[in-house]
């Protein structure tokens, strides 16, 4: 009973797009296309950059939201990403196989997710402290074990998708990317479907909203949380692998530079939904790409720090004015004790 109400209300909010939202989307598309017609090469470069910069953010956000949807707050995404980036880099250095390196990064992400679940569920530790431990531990371990001078055997290169890559505007932006970026775009839609249209998603959300109700209908709350937090870790692991294997091709200490925290902001921006979070990630990516482009164009009259501030201001404005109340899952951060 309780479960079916949850789906219904979600369904409604899922399809309930406000008029303002429609107007805004249409305007946005007009601006995007107009920019392309005025300066095709420049616009394409900016859009491609937007997508690249959004990739680690949306992956981090997916990690956060799967955890939080089932009631575990994860602020250790930054550490998970960093650790995965480091391990993926090492595997690439010593084995020279990019695929194995990606798998290793994902596995480390999952392992740290499991560690977080163990701390929050079995040890009943404060989840914020648990996440902080992961962040500090990852920064310390990776800095300590990093050996200067290691070089990799190359990084993941873009794979143009045949004739699709020749479509103007869309082709070079969407269909000429490296594997992790493609995978990320697919994962966003897959996770959106999984969370709101499958049994697993329903159970996950039930556990995050009302664990004792979920328990009464036979869902094993803590097992679900364990599995989900571990599964979510894969996404953070993939984000880390993206940084060292696809974006840079090398590891540097502390190279995540707060992307794991921005991922949390992106998650809240998207109201704990994969598609919404993707919108947020693209917004951050676009602001960063535009910030660079403004400097390329020599528009020095606007200080570039000011433009760098833009996504944060926009987050506040959008959250306060357009998205409405962004409500976290009701039972997040709370230990579920069946006794």
């Amino acid at each position: 009973m309780a479960a079916s109400t949850v789906t219904k209300s979600k369904k409604r909010s899922y399809f309930n797009v406000s008029k303002l939202g429609v107007v805004f989307s249409v305007l946005l598309i007009i601006v995007i296309v107009a920019y392309y017609f005025i300066r095709p090469q420049q616009a394409t470069a900016v859009y491609a950059s937007t997508l690249r910069q959004s990739t680690p953010l949306i992956l981090g956000a997916l990690c956060g939201l799967i955890g939080e949807r089932s009631g575990i707050i994860n602020i250790g995404i930054e550490g998970q990403m960093l650790m995965a980036a480091f391990i993926a880099f090492l595997v690439n250095v010593y084995m020279g196989n990019l695929f194995v390196a990606v798998v290793a990064g994902v596995a480390i992400g999952a392992f740290i997710g499991l560690f977080l679940a163990w701390m929050s569920i079995t040890l009943k530790m404060d989840q914020i402290i648990g996440g902080t431990i992961i962040n500090i531990l990852a920064l310390g371990l990776t800095s300590f074990f990093y050996i200067a001078g290691l070089t990799t055997q190359g990084k993941l290169q873009p794979i143009p998708l045949g004739p699709l890559a020749n479509i103007p505007l869309i082709g070079p932006v969407l269909f000429n990317n490296a594997p992790i970026t493609y995978l990320t775009i697919i994962l966003v839609f897959v996770m959106q479907f999984m969370l709101f249209r499958t049994v697993w998603g329903l159970r996950t959300r039930a556990v995050g909203e009302h664990p004792s109700a979920a328990d009464t209908v036979g869902i094993r709350v803590n097992v679900t949380r364990y599995l989900n937090t571990t599964f979510a870790g894969c996404f953070a692991g993939l984000a880390g692998a993206y940084l060292t294997l696809e974006a840079v091709g090398s590891f540097e200490r502390g190279m995540t530079n707060g992307r794991g925290f921005i991922a949390l902001a992106v998650m809240i921006f998207g109201k704990w939904t994969p598609l919404g979070a993707w919108g947020g990630a693209l917004l951050f990516g676009a602001a960063s790409a535009l910030q660079t482009q403004f400097q390329f164009l020599g528009l020095d009259f606007i200080p570039h720090q000011f433009i760098g501030m833009f996504p944060y201001v926009l987050t506040i404005v959008v959250l306060a004015g357009f998205v409405g109340r962004s409500r976290p899952p009701a039972a997040e951060g709370k230990v579920y004790d069946p006794e």
Partner: protein, 343 residues
Amino acid sequence: MKKSVLLFTTLFIVLAMLLAACGGGGAEEAAEEADCSSDDVFCVGLVTDVGEVDDKSFNQSAWEGVQQAGTELGAKVEYIETGDAKDYGANIDLFAGQNYDVIVTVGFALTEATAAAAAKYPDIDFIGVDQFQGEVMDNLAGLLFPEDKAGFQAGALAAMLTESDTIAAVLGTDLVPPVVAFKEGYEGGAKYINPDINLISTFHPGGMDVAFTDPEWGATTAKQAIDQGADVVFGAGGKTGNGALIETAGVDGAFCIGVDSDQWETVPEAHSCLVSSAMKLITPGVFELVSLSKDGSLPGGNFFGQTGLAPFHDFEDQIPQEVKDKLAEIEAGLNDGSIETGY
């Protein structure tokens, strides 16, 4: 349940202590070996900027200069890696407390901390790399470099190599004057060769804590520039710049130019595009000042080191002779003052 919490905490503390013991041991252990307060022992300590002594960039170059003093002057050398900008003063005090003879501090960000320490410890000589001295103190030498000249040469080289007439620069932060000097010099040099050249350059938008350690931003920014037709990328900004170099290496026909040291040695991933580097000769500069200090004649105030372009390495045969001649002509012009960098 309680047991496992206890076990976990104990494990964590033990691990943390182990790590701390391995990491920070350097300076304390060394103090037991030799007594720096003795006149016979010449001790040189180096405090890095936030970052590591093996950063493939200016901390490493300065440390190599100190190490050279260790082998050639028989000095006892030691370094402290600064982990947080709040610790500059404390790290300097650590060496001063052990009566080191010379303390080298690396980086513009340590300017104030070094000046304060020099006033506090008048018997110790200080060498500040990249630190401009407004007031002259006898025991403090600021090692500066005309980065604009090295940038000018790099810009001229870039302008002669480009086929698209679009060249890019991916830079650290404009909060650090040497980075701005590199940029202005680069643009001046490019325009000296081709006044109509399309220059696209960007500073990292973050603060000093992230601007030099963000290779992903460097890489994606370089890509954004290349997508717009740039075929030469100047990466000037520590690891952020290295990210730009590695990204450019993946693009056929594009060139990249490194910064500070000869990055052929430090970023092997970029060999396929790295034609040269705009170098600050930090190592010989530091060594020279340390030697002067040993002789008791440290020049207070600002001391200018040398800059130049790194060798072409594998591109030696690909660079036409007329380009090399032009670069030599520019270098001579910069040195005798007939060419101004415009900075």
